[in-house]
Symmetry: C2
Subunit: 156 residues, 2 copies
């Protein structure tokens, strides 16, 4: 699915169960937080620094969905755009553990929990856990979910 011009480097067989690696970082700005929130999650603690100061969060925080989307982007840049990715059937859990604030650097780590063939011979399911830390090494988010990947040698 990577299309012409992008070489597929990673197949189902290339995910090593148990392995944990840092896959990338992203520094989030106040503008980015407010921009996403205006479109998708306009709660005042995501859109308005003044109202956010009076909220239980004591300041502007990112929408949890934006943190998920940033993990997705880090994932794409780190390996997914060069992988035989066939999409995802879903997520098993998401935990928003601590607020993400303007100018936080999000550090994304990936752990492969399981890799198993499916009933279709050309693909396999990979269960991955992503842990996100900030620049103070606080664990801000965790999610686990499945991805479908083509098997080596099964290219059309």
């Amino acid at each position: 699915m990577t299309g012409p011009g992008v070489a597929t480097e990673r197949y189902f067989e290339d995910f090593a169960v148990g392995e944990t690696v840092e896959i990338g970082r992203h520094r989030i700005t106040a503008d980015e937080i407010v921009g996403f929130a205006h479109q998708y999650d306009p709660q005042p603690f995501h859109t308005d620094p003044v109202k956010a100061r009076d909220s239980i969060y004591n300041g502007l925080i990112a929408s949890g969905w934006q943190t998920c989307a940033i993990v997705m982007r880090v994932m794409c840049d780190a390996y997914l755009l060069r992988a035989a990715s066939m999409g995802s059937p879903g997520m098993e859990e998401i935990r928003w553990l601590k607020p993400v604030r303007p100018d936080d650097t999000l550090i994304v780590k990936r752990t492969i929990e399981e890799a198993r063939p499916t009933s279709k011979a050309d693909r396999g399911l990979v269960l991955t856990r992503w842990d996100v830390y900030n620049q103070r090494d606080e664990h801000v988010m965790m999610m686990r979910g499945y991805g479908l990947f083509g098997r080596r040698g099964a290219d059309a």
Copy 2:
């Protein structure tokens, strides 16, 4: 947390367990799909109509994370911006069941699965399930997760 000028209409006590209601609709455009994908999920089947046609999806589809973000927006407009919302600790599951394509109308239904007080007397946890259908009544997405809501009479 709704701030000055927005009346709080919905507290923890106002979520009726078992109740299912349609909370809103959103028609998604190709521009919206491609715009989100360029920023957060630049896999070719989300960004490029030509490459998408050659993918297993036979055409452009929305990032699953964008569908989640749209549910969040529908939720905000339907009740969350007028509720004593205190954020969410996480999601229990997400299922991306069918592709979401340009010009699909997403119909969002909400079912309250559980509502229970927490150890803090001023708030309660509400477990909600959201089901998303398209204009052909196909079930395209499901997610379940917790929200924290202030209790009636507990306003600071």
